[in-house]
């Protein structure tokens, strides 16, 4: 049974890649995910904004009250060691590269032009096998056009692509006027993979406190539909690899996404709920299904149910909605 696949030029033993999540924060849990069969791991995102904030916060608190009062010219000991900025993240990559044999994909969320490139280079130096750019932008300014936004995505990717030699994937949001178009333009500037899709924290209102509170709701298999559609549509229309993320919980989910055209299927919520052993369960399920349905390799089924391969491509299009509605009734 051949479960192997290729993603970002990396030969992977199977399509299950844990996506960026807190589970990759310790060497122990990454090792566990490897043991349970993960073929690569996307590390949690390094947030430039957070790092900058932390650096400034530390600086503020260590200096703000100093030299104000004769008895206490400072309130903290001098820090003789200081792991500032992305040091911790980079050390983590180095440790993981020693501890596990599966590919490690670094993930960045930047806020400044310089930040993306700087961190990308550092992550490459630290030994990551590939890079995932976790770009998101909530356009609250009505004066900003979709062109402006798309151009900023392209600029970031171009800058990073020009500065690092490791493969680069982009994690996209589904909220583009023309997703196919942006995917094509990213593809054209040499992006190696698209990760579909980013799941945002969505705001909620707390009626007791009248505060807006961001929160994350873990996905279920139902969330799979959105990436399934777009992977199906984009398959073979662009050169970049396609990674499905969001809604991958079962062997069936994996099979569907591969059939739609995904190179890899990324898991997060299911692992947070059930632990890394879920990976083995899903892989076993995939193998069983393939045995039962006489598939020798995943490559045989990849794209078999894509927009271009199905008998009725319109099923991926708008009419699909009406059909679904009708069939439900």
């Amino acid at each position: 049974m051949d479960l192997s696949t290729s993603y970002l030029g990396l030969n992977l033993k199977n399509p299950i890649v844990p996506s960026a999540s807190p589970m990759s924060r310790t060497v122990g849990s990454v090792r566990l995910m490897e043991d349970y069969g993960a073929s690569a791991v996307v590390l949690y995102s390094i947030f430039e904004e957070q790092i900058r904030h932390e650096t400034k916060e530390m600086y503020h608190h260590l200096t703000y009250h100093a030299e104000s009062y004769a008895e206490a010219t400072s309130y903290f000991p001098e820090m003789h060691e200081y792991h500032s900025g992305p040091d911790e993240y980079l050390n983590h990559i180095r440790k993981l590269k020693e501890a596990v044999s599966i590919p490690i994909i670094g993930s960045i969320n930047g806020v400044t032009d310089g930040g993306w490139v700087e961190y990308a280079k550092l992550i490459q130096q630290a030994g990551a096998d590939a890079l995932e750019l976790n770009i998101y932008y909530i356009p609250t300014d009505p004066n900003m056009s979709s062109d402006d936004i798309e151009q900023s995505y392209l600029d970031i990717v171009k800058d990073v692509r020009n500065q690092v030699s490791i493969p680069v994937a982009v994690k996209l949001s589904p909220y583009f006027t023309s997703l196919s178009n942006i995917a094509k333009r990213l593809d054209k500037i040499g992006v190696n993979g698209l990760v579909l899709f980013n799941r945002f924290y969505q705001p909620d209102i707390n009626l007791d406190t009248l505060n807006v509170e961001p929160g994350v709701i873990l996905s279920s298999s139902d969330s799979l539909r959105l990436p399934l559609r777009w992977i199906g549509i984009l398959y073979k229309k662009i050169n970049a690899d396609l990674a499905a993320t969001t809604g991958v919980h079962t062997a069936e989910d994996v099979l569907k996404l591969i059939m739609a055209g995904a190179n890899v299927t990324m898991m997060c919520s299911a692992l947070l709920r059930h632990g890394p052993r879920k990976i083995r369960e899903v892989l076993t399920g995939v193998q069983q299904w393939m045995v039962e349905h006489e598939y020798a390799s995943l490559n045989d089924m990849r794209g078999s149910m894509s927009h271009q391969s199905v008998a009725d491509p319109s099923s991926f299009e708008r009419a699909n909605y009406m059909k679904a509605l009708q069939s439900y009734m």
Binding site: R52, T55, K56, E57, M58, Y59, H60, H61, L62, T63, Y64, H65, A66, E67, S68, Y69, A70, E71, A72, T73, S74, Y75, F76, P77, E78, M79, H80, E81, Y82, H83, S84, G85, E88, N91, L210, N211
Partner: protein
Amino acid sequence: MSEIKREMVNIDGNEAAAYVAHKTNEVIAIYPITPSSNMGEWCDQWSSEGKKNIWGTVPIVAEMQSEGGASGAVHGALQTGSLTTTFTASQGLLLMIPNMFKIAGELTSTVFHVSARSIAAQGLSIFGDHSDVMSTRSTGWAMLCSHNVQEVMDFALISQAATLESRIPFIHFFDGFRTSHEVMKIEELAISDIKAMMNDKLITEHRQRALTPEKPVMRGTAQNPDVYFQARETVNPFYDRCPNIVQKAMDQFAKVVGRQYHLFDYYGAPDAERVIVLMGSGSESVHETVDALMENGEKVGVVKIRLFRPFSMKHFIEAFPVTTKSIAVLDRTKEPGGAGEPLYQDVITALHEMHTTSESKFKAYPKVIGGRYGLSSKEFTPAMVKGIFDELSKEKQKNHFTIGINDDLGHTSLEYDPNYTTEKNDVIRSLFYGLGADGTVGANKNSIKIIGEETNFFGQGYFVYDSKKSGSTTVSHLRFGPRPIRSTYLISRANFVACHQWQFLEKFDMLTSIIDGGTFLLNSPFPKERVWGNLPLVVQEQIIKKKLNFYVIDGNAVAVKTGMGSRVNTIMQTCFFAISGVLPKEDAITAIKTSIKKTYGKKGEDIVKMNYAAVDATIENLFKVDYPNELTSTITLPPVVPDHAPDFIKNVTAKMIAGQGDSIPVSRLPIDGTYPVGTTSWEKRNIATEIPSWDSEWCIQCGKCALVCPHATIRIKVYDNALAEGSPESFKHMPYKGNEYKGQAYTIQVAPEDCTGCGICVEVCPAKNKKETKYKALNMVPQPAVRDQEKKNWDYFLTIPEADRRTVDVKTIKGTQFLQPLFEFSGACTGCGETPYVKLVSQLFGDRTIVANATGCSSIYGGNLPTTPWTKNNDGRGPAWSNSLFEDNAEFGYGMRLSLDKQVEYARELLIQLIPQLGEGIVNSILSSTQHDEMEIYTQRERVKELKKLLPAINTPESKQLTQLADSLVKKSVWIMGGDGWAYDIGFGGLDHVIASGRNVNILVLDTEVYSNTGGQMSKSTPRGAVAKFAAGGKPIGKKDLGLIAMSYGNVYVAQIAMGANDLQTVKAIQEAEAYDGPSLILAYSHCIAHGINMTKGMNAQKLAVDSGHWPLYRYNPALTKEGKNPFQLDSKMPKIKLEDFEYNEIRFKMLTKMDPEKAKLLLRQAQEDVMKKWRFYEQLAAMNYATPAAATNGH
């Protein structure tokens, strides 16, 4: 002299002493006390960085629970053969005296480095003089005095060498602050220098004297009248040899390093007739003055005392020129009732012995006068020195004089011409006025380093801080010149003055200190075209009169633009270099940037870039002002206090506030340290940029805003509607919502000039504006815009009567906030976490409370002059407050309780004796009153008032006695307050004894889990994993459970509270503690700037502490056991957030993740386990069955 290239360094005295101490010792036991704390901190830091001593091993640095403990540990380490030292000052040194007698009696080699400081007498002082070291004269220690920072480093080594050879222990001392904190460019001793001075043979001998079971001996026997005396005399030869040994070490030092010192160094005219004798930093001022006077041909000189003990009379006399006719001996200490101060007496003795035992070297027996100078860092200037030399010229000289003050009471002071100066024109003298928070001092320390490293100039920096912890101002005095700088006094003739904060223009007349043609740099919100018109008149006058070069920059705008926030430090520093001409501009900019990289490089590239950007933007925004030659301003400086203030406030307090305290004559000051209360209300500091504004439309009248206010600047009153009618137009009020005062008006009012703008009230306000939820019932607004209007409203608010205490429901938060705070407008940090508790106690019981306050933050914001926050109500009643010491506060309060209990007991006895005259009615009603609530207390007061009316008519000794004691019949509450440094560490023994006594005292521990006042040293309350000084690598063990220890007595009321987590529990616990007729201990979680948090969210930090289980809330009320109930009640719920969600909200924990991530993870895990273990233990305590067995079987 060796050819070693030694590094020039720019450091202060404390660092200089610590450098040698760390290199030449193996064990260092310390305890923080100002101004010596930094020495221990340096050593701790170096050891934690793995820095080794000259023998290649890292010294152990151990923080003890007190100076007494430190000296005990030192004694033990010495007795077992290790080279051991400690650092201390003031009361700390006094606590070491018992061990010092032992160490000297056992002829044990050690050096204690002391930054000499005043001793608390009529008042505490953290500043420098020789009172502490002079108190140790009889201990048998040698005393070597350093006069400047270079000497501190040199003498630290010389004393170390001399103690090993002489076997006499040494105090190596230097002036607190003036030398300990003065930054100077000095030559650092090389390791080879230190090694050359350390004699291995002597170290071996030191070790061989150690206690060891291999060669057991007895040391420390008890001796009897037959031998003690003789044994005491055995040491004499060691003291006889000691001066020569010190001189030998000085000579050896000269050979190795090149600087030659003597036991007594004479400087001056070889044929001097007038000589001043003194020791310490003051000798530098005298040296400088002698130089200036000699240039005018005057025959003057100075004898600088180096080795004060053992006092070598021979060497001392030898130091003088034979021409000496008159001598002034200056002591920086006071010994009331003595024949003279210590040095004076030694000089008299030396001259007398010389005169009576040998042929005098002098042509005539010199006249000698003695005087006191410089107590508590009082200025000692060349003008004063000249005044003393002038006195020595007089036929009739004043003896036992004082200099530098106006003693119009004892008429001891010498006259002098304050305008006399010795400052040379080639010395750049700069003054910088800044805020603590704007980074001015740090930038100036940095400038000294830059100039020291980039030029051949010698530099000196001395920094003056004010007495408040919030909105504090700093004045930096910087000198740069071609020669070593001996000016150990503040700059009064500056050629450069920088004002880093615009608002200072109306507070300080800073241009009186600038010379004609000097440069004035102003951080101005106005552009160069408009700045002139906005200057106060007095500033315009001086700029024109002195023809100043006037520069402006909008430093705050540059800071905001470049991400520096409120830190204008780098910006103003760049301006200084750009216009002062100390360095060529381009070189200076490069040097600043190099220095920025060095200072901030490891803190993150962003910080470096931000500072670089600030430097670049500064140059573009710095302008010279072309000002007119005419006065245009109508802005005059407001009076310091209003005209209607009492005389004491106008004549004393206002002068201190205005920075003119030096001019207050002796006769104006209280003779016994007793000061009026409520003086902060006269000092309008206006430090807030924003203050809260009340929007009554949304207010739910919960009272939380006033409860949490650290400075009692937001107040609530409920009052007769009619009073609202005549209020100022902008005065806000609304109908009271509850039933108890139905129909009355309700107002929340802010004291606009006293508010520090912390924003905690807005943060805790639960009432949101329902139309726009970003607003609440309280919102911060810019202070200047509303200041005048709110001043009027505040004044009106004060005229509204306070609530009748009998009607207030003190079981509710809103009820407690109708009670007048009798602790207001303290100088505590903006957003302080301690003061809301203190204020609450003052509201609940202030009119019948006596406070014993341990030294620490609470005694400083509670009792530091010029103005103090404890106040009284309209009846004239309020808390009476005192601070004894750091270590004895529980005992101090206990003594108060004993005294009050005795007075009540005696008064009751007298009442009974007077029944025949007074009648049973009033006597019985007074005796039987329980005084459990405000109504009963009020009634008892009325009875006592009545009693006092009756007593004068009864002409018996008993009635006279009772007249004096009658007020004691109204219940008094004793509150013993202090921080965790006191309660957990230095005062724990006393606290333990007091809670075991059963007496009715209330102990409030303001627990910040760190020594806050002295700058963040670890206490036994510091939690596992927190970074603190002396726990630089994160505290490895958990905190002491003081509450549990107290509970173990069974009869102590104990509560653990955190206002930000559960305010009602706080109110309940404080009231139960007070009501409990026995000892009570309240542990109050107090957020603190030493936690590294956003202080506006301090109450939220408290909530996280509780929610994570770090600080469980509970009450243990022994009174419940009598009812068969469990006395222990858990008031918080099971931990509901992870400990890291609490910890990593605070820099004290978070910084370990940046320094040592693995250790941070380990300690966090252990701390999380601690939390759960403790929680389970408390749960079991709370579940215990206290019912009697019989009751239990009955199913209870």
